[in-house]
Structure formats: C-alpha cells, structure tokens
C-alpha cells in the first residue's frame, strides 16, 4: 500500500558521493547558505558519523515543489528585526540574512513545520499557509 508510494520516482537518492565536511558551500545556493561547522565536524572522534554538508542533508528529503510559494517573507519588515529568530530556528535553514540587513527566503525545501511564523514577532513579516495539495515535503522514512 503506502510502501509503494513511498519510494516515488521523484525521490532523490541519498547522497553518497558528495560527502564533504561542512563548510564547503561557499558559492552554494540559497538552500545552503553559510554552512556552519557543527560540533561533530570539529569534535568527531573515530566513532562519530561523518558530518554532512547542509545541501546534502536537504538532498535526503523528497520535496515535490509547487510552482507557487506557500510562504513569503517581507524582506522590508525584516530590516527592523533584531531577533532574527527565524535564521537559527528554521530547521531547513531557509532564512538567509543579506548584507543590507534584509532576509532572503526560498520556500522550496520547506518542512511546513510552522516554526518560522511562531518565532517571528514582527507582524506581517511571514505570510504562511500550506502548499497546495500534493506538493511540498513528502517523507519516506520518518
């Protein structure tokens, strides 16, 4: 039943080749901003699992991207924000501060969790709804 649907043709394979240490994504796209070095990346002993670059982490997840954005962020509203709560809290790391004090946001690899609209207390900064039916994240092994 579901098992058949789970491994859909659109599901990306798991990253095996691009297994690099965090911190290599200098020129990477929006989904992989400023890769932060993780404790494991620096402190991983012989028993530790390998660190995973953020874009590889996100490449393990199946997203059926809708042509329409389900979340929009008003970069102007963000300019006055001192907390930048979304930047650390978004598990998909989709909020990227820009040099001019704004926020760059891309909805495509979103878990639809709701964290961003809850932690943001600037009215109007985050406009949030679910993607249209059938689109967005599709977990297979969680």
């Amino acid at each position: 039943m579901s098992a058949g649907a789970v491994g859909s043709p659109g599901a990306p394979g798991t990253p095996t080749a691009a297994r690099t240490a965090a911190g290599t994504s200098a020129g990477a796209g929006i989904a992989a901003p400023a890769a932060r070095s993780t404790p494991a990346a620096t402190a991983g002993g012989p028993g530790a699992t390998l660190p995973v670059a953020f874009e590889d982490r996100m490449a393990t997840v199946d997203f059926r991207v809708s042509p329409q954005a389900h979340i929009t962020v008003d970069g102007d509203a963000c300019r006055g924000c001192t907390t930048r709560a979304c930047v650390t809290a978004c598990p998909a790391n989709l909020f990227v501060p820009t040099a001019d004090g704004g926020i760059l946001f891309n909805y495509e690899q979103c878990f639809e969790c709701g964290t961003c609209y809850l932690v943001c207390d600037t009215a109007g900064a985050v406009t949030w709804r679910y993607p249209e039916g059938g689109h967005g994240v599709a977990y297979r092994r969680s």
Binding site: A3, R36, L50, T60, L118, G133, G136, R141
Partner: protein, 473 residues
C-alpha cells in the same frame, strides 16, 4: 470502498486499484477529482487530516454507517508526518482485532532507557523485558509514511473515502459566525459539505483556529523536533543495542540540548536509527545554535557515538510538538466541528513520556463516536457534541493530561534542564569513584557535597522534588 464507489475521485480510484498516487502533476487526479469532487450533502462527516487521529475518527464513523470523507493534503497519508519513532499500541486493541498481524512494525520495543548526559558523563536507567516482545506488545517502532497509510487503509476498508493531495483551506458555515457545515479545499469547485467536520489537521490546526476554538497562540507552548534517520545494518543494530532480530530499543535523553530546554531521543528501526532533538521554541529562537548542530553534538557524545557510528543520513526531517499539554488545549467542540489529536494539543510530552500517536488515536476514536452519536440524534450543536469531552474525560486522554498538566513547566525549567543532569551525574560519579586509601564517604555527605557544589539551593531542590512527586506521583 463500496459505499463510495459511485462518487470516488480519480485519486481514490487510483488508490483503490493499488496504484500509488504519483506526483500530482503526473496524475489525472488533479482535474478529474476537482470537478464534482463531492455533490453537496454527499457526506455525513468530513475528517480533515489522515494522521492517526483522523484515520481513527474516520474508521469509527465509517463503521457506524456514516458516509465519511477523509481528507489529506499530502500525496499519501504520512507523507507530511514525522515523529520520534515509537507507537504505544494498547489503544489499537479496542480498534482493530490482532492489529499486530499486519501493522507495519519496524521493531518491537523490549528495551527502554533514559539517559542523562553532561558534556562527558552519562547516567542511564536501562530497562528491558522479554514480555514486551510478545503479543499484545507494549511499543513498536514504525515509520509514519507506512503506519499512517496502514491506518488510513483500515478506514478505507470500513468504507471511508480517502482523498489525498487536497488541502482544506477553510471552514464553510451555514451563515457568518454560524455552525460549521464543511470545508473549502484547494481544488476547483472543491467545497466539501457535511453534517460535521472533525479537525484532525495536526499541530498547526488552522481549522480549529479559524473556528475560534484556540486561545492566543503562544510559541512557549511548542517545541520543534528535528531528526535524522541513519542507515545502519540490522545485525549491527542488534549487536550494538543487545537486541534480538525483531526487538527494538527506545532511548529518551536529557541534557543534550545545551542552553535550550528540551531533550533528545534515539530509536531503533529495522535497519536504521532515528536520532533527534526536541527544542523549546522561545529558547531556540534566541540561542544562536541550530537544530542540526545539536543533533551533531548528540551524535558525537561519547555515550552515543558508538551506537550511531557509521550511520549514513538517509532522511532529515522536522515537525512541531504541542508541548503545552492540558493548559494549551482549545475548546474541543463547536457547532458542527470537533477537534482531535495534535490539533487539540492531545500529545503527551512529559519527560520520559513522549506519546502522541496513541493519544491521537484515542481522541480520534472518541471524536468519531461522539460525531456519529450527534449525527444520529440530529444535533451537532456544541451541546449535541458535548459527549466528546465526556468520552475523553472517561479515558486516559484527559485523565493523564490533567494529572500531568504541570509537567511541561517543571520539565522545561532551568534547574531540571541545566542543573540536575550535572548534579545527578556528579553524585553517581562520586559514588562509583574509588577513593582508596580514603574510606568511602557516606551517601548523605556525598549528596550534600555535590548539591553545594552545584549551586542548587536545598530549598529549590526540596520544592522541585515535591513538585515532581505531586506531578508524577
């Protein structure tokens, strides 16, 4: 399925034929299902959300002869859902005979442990019993895309119509501010009218919010769970965790989330491990450390690293938990609408317990029963639906929640999160450190010494102990 044969959507037909619903763009579902999705008045009940709560509600309603539509925004049930990894299945006994014969179980949990970590210490309370590995079982690891689809299929078997890839976008009412009479969806002509709506739409429950059943939304009532699924061969898992072929382990972890109140978990699937953290939102917003960094720290801990070594990341995921429990629950019923599962904050998150699936199923069942009774009586007003709360009050759902209503505050408090793990580990380290040629210190002196060193005031320790006894006792 038979009851729904005439009106089922293309998506339904595909499902019934055993064809997995493909990506929406490729499926004919979008257009065919859109027009004439449902002739008005075609359903007695619309259940929104094919998670455990929704499928249980739809199953009960269908069994009582009601025409029920089970609406799911994902391409298949479970596609939007992640959790730690253990279903506590006692509630299924009353719903499905011998459910364990075909439930999509990864491993039967025979070992439960609670780990208290500091940077370089670990204190573990570890319990195992062979009896949990035999029917009727006590807990099972399962993957949500499989488990949720299995439960939804049971509802379909009973006659419910499952419509996937369709998002409920709002409530329909008989007049502005009046009784709920259905939901609008994102399909063209996608309004679904029904005698009653059961909102099982999960933690963000925009439907219950739109119905005015929730109070003001407070981020302090939520935690974020983030998890990694790591591929590890089955035999390796069994060797590392000391398990038989079908046996599984369930580790709850405290002291692994730095300055952010929360906790961690580690569960065994058949050939993968689920490891993750649960983080209190207000602190996550300001702590300057990201969820995956905390998972990496947990995986690197000396007590955890050997268990997960070599595990290859095969899926990363995240989801909110309604952590606030009893005190954040919405009104459970309004005219024409009931709220169940995470949508009603029914998930029990109280330290050593993280149980949501069973609470969702139980509340879904109660909602299904109450809705069927109200429909039969022809009264779906708030009064007519009062049986829902009564049913929950008579069951573990509200009884556990009421008893544990102060647990979230206690467990997320600074002392429990930051001080006591260190204190407990230091006391045990002292206890087991051989001091020869000095004689062993007495237990009382040892504890007093460590409490003093920890900076915890005895008064606070006593108060917290008392609070813990009152909460959990």
């Amino acid at each position: 399925m038979t009851a729904a044969g005439a009106t089922r959507t293309a998506a339904e037909a595909a499902r019934a034929a055993g064809t997995p619903p493909g990506p929406p763009t490729a499926a004919p579902a979008a257009s065919a299902a859109a027009t004439g999705l449902v002739p008005a008045g075609d359903f007695d009940a619309v259940v929104v959300g094919a998670g455990p709560a929704g499928s249980a509600a739809a199953l009960v309603l269908a069994r009582s002869g009601k025409r029920v539509c089970l609406l799911e925004r994902g391409p298949y049930p479970g596609s939007k859902n992640m959790y730690g990894g253990v279903v506590y299945p006692r509630i299924l006994d009353g719903l499905l005979l011998d459910w364990w014969e075909d439930a999509p179980v990864q491993r039967w949990v025979t070992r439960r442990a609670t780990m208290t970590l500091t940077d370089d210490q670990a204190l573990t309370i570890d319990f195992r019993t062979e009896s949990w590995g035999r029917p009727p079982y006590n807990g099972a690891t399962a993957l949500r895309p499989e488990f949720d689809a299995w439960l939804a299929a049971k509802a379909v078997d009973a006659g419910a119509v499952l419509v996937t890839s369709t998002t409920a976008t709002g409530l329909l009412r008989d007049r502005p501010g009046g009784a709920v009479t259905g939901v609008s969806t994102d399909r063209p002509d996608g309004d679904l009218r029904a005698g009653i709506v059961v909102a099982c739409d999960g933690v963000n429950s925009f439907l219950a919010k739109q119905a005015g059943l929730h109070g003001p939304v407070d981020p302090a009532n939520y935690t974020l769970g983030a998890k990694e699924v790591l591929a590890v061969p089955a035999r390796t898992i069994e060797e590392r965790f000391g398990l038989g072929p079908d046996q599984g382990a369930d580790f709850e972890i405290i002291g692994c989330t730095g300055a952010i109140p929360g906790g961690g978990f580690l569960y065994t699937n058949r050939d993968s491990l689920a490891i993750g953290v649960v983080l209190h939102l207000p602190a996550l917003a300001t702590a300057g450390v990201r969820p995956e960094e905390l998972i990496a720290g947990l995986k690197a801990h000396p007590a955890v690293a050997p268990l997960v070594a070599g595990g290859e990341l095969v899926e990363y995921s995240a989801h909110l938990i309604p952590e606030g429990g009893y005190d954040m629950m919405p009104a459970l019923a309004g005219a024409g609408i009931l709220v169940a599962g995470d949508a009603a904050a029914m998930c029990l998150a109280a330290g050593i317990w993280l149980e949501g699936v069973n609470f969702a199923i139980a509340s879904g069942m109660a909602a299904g029963e109450a809705a069927a009774a109200a429909l039969a009586a022809g009264d779906v007003s708030e009064r007519g639906l009062a049986g829902y709360r009564r049913r929950l009050q008579d069951s573990f759902v509200l009884q556990d929640h009421r008893r544990l209503r102060h647990a979230p505050h206690l467990l997320l408090s600074e002392r429990v999160q930051q001080r006591y793990p260190q204190l407990a580990c230091d006391i045990v380290e002292d206890l087991f450190t051989v001091t020869n040629p000095e004689p062993k210190p007495g237990m009382r002196r040892l504890v007093r010494r460590q409490v003093t060193a920890s900076g915890v005031r005895l008064r606070d320790l006593a108060a917290d102990t008392w609070r813990a006894l009152r909460t959990f006792g």
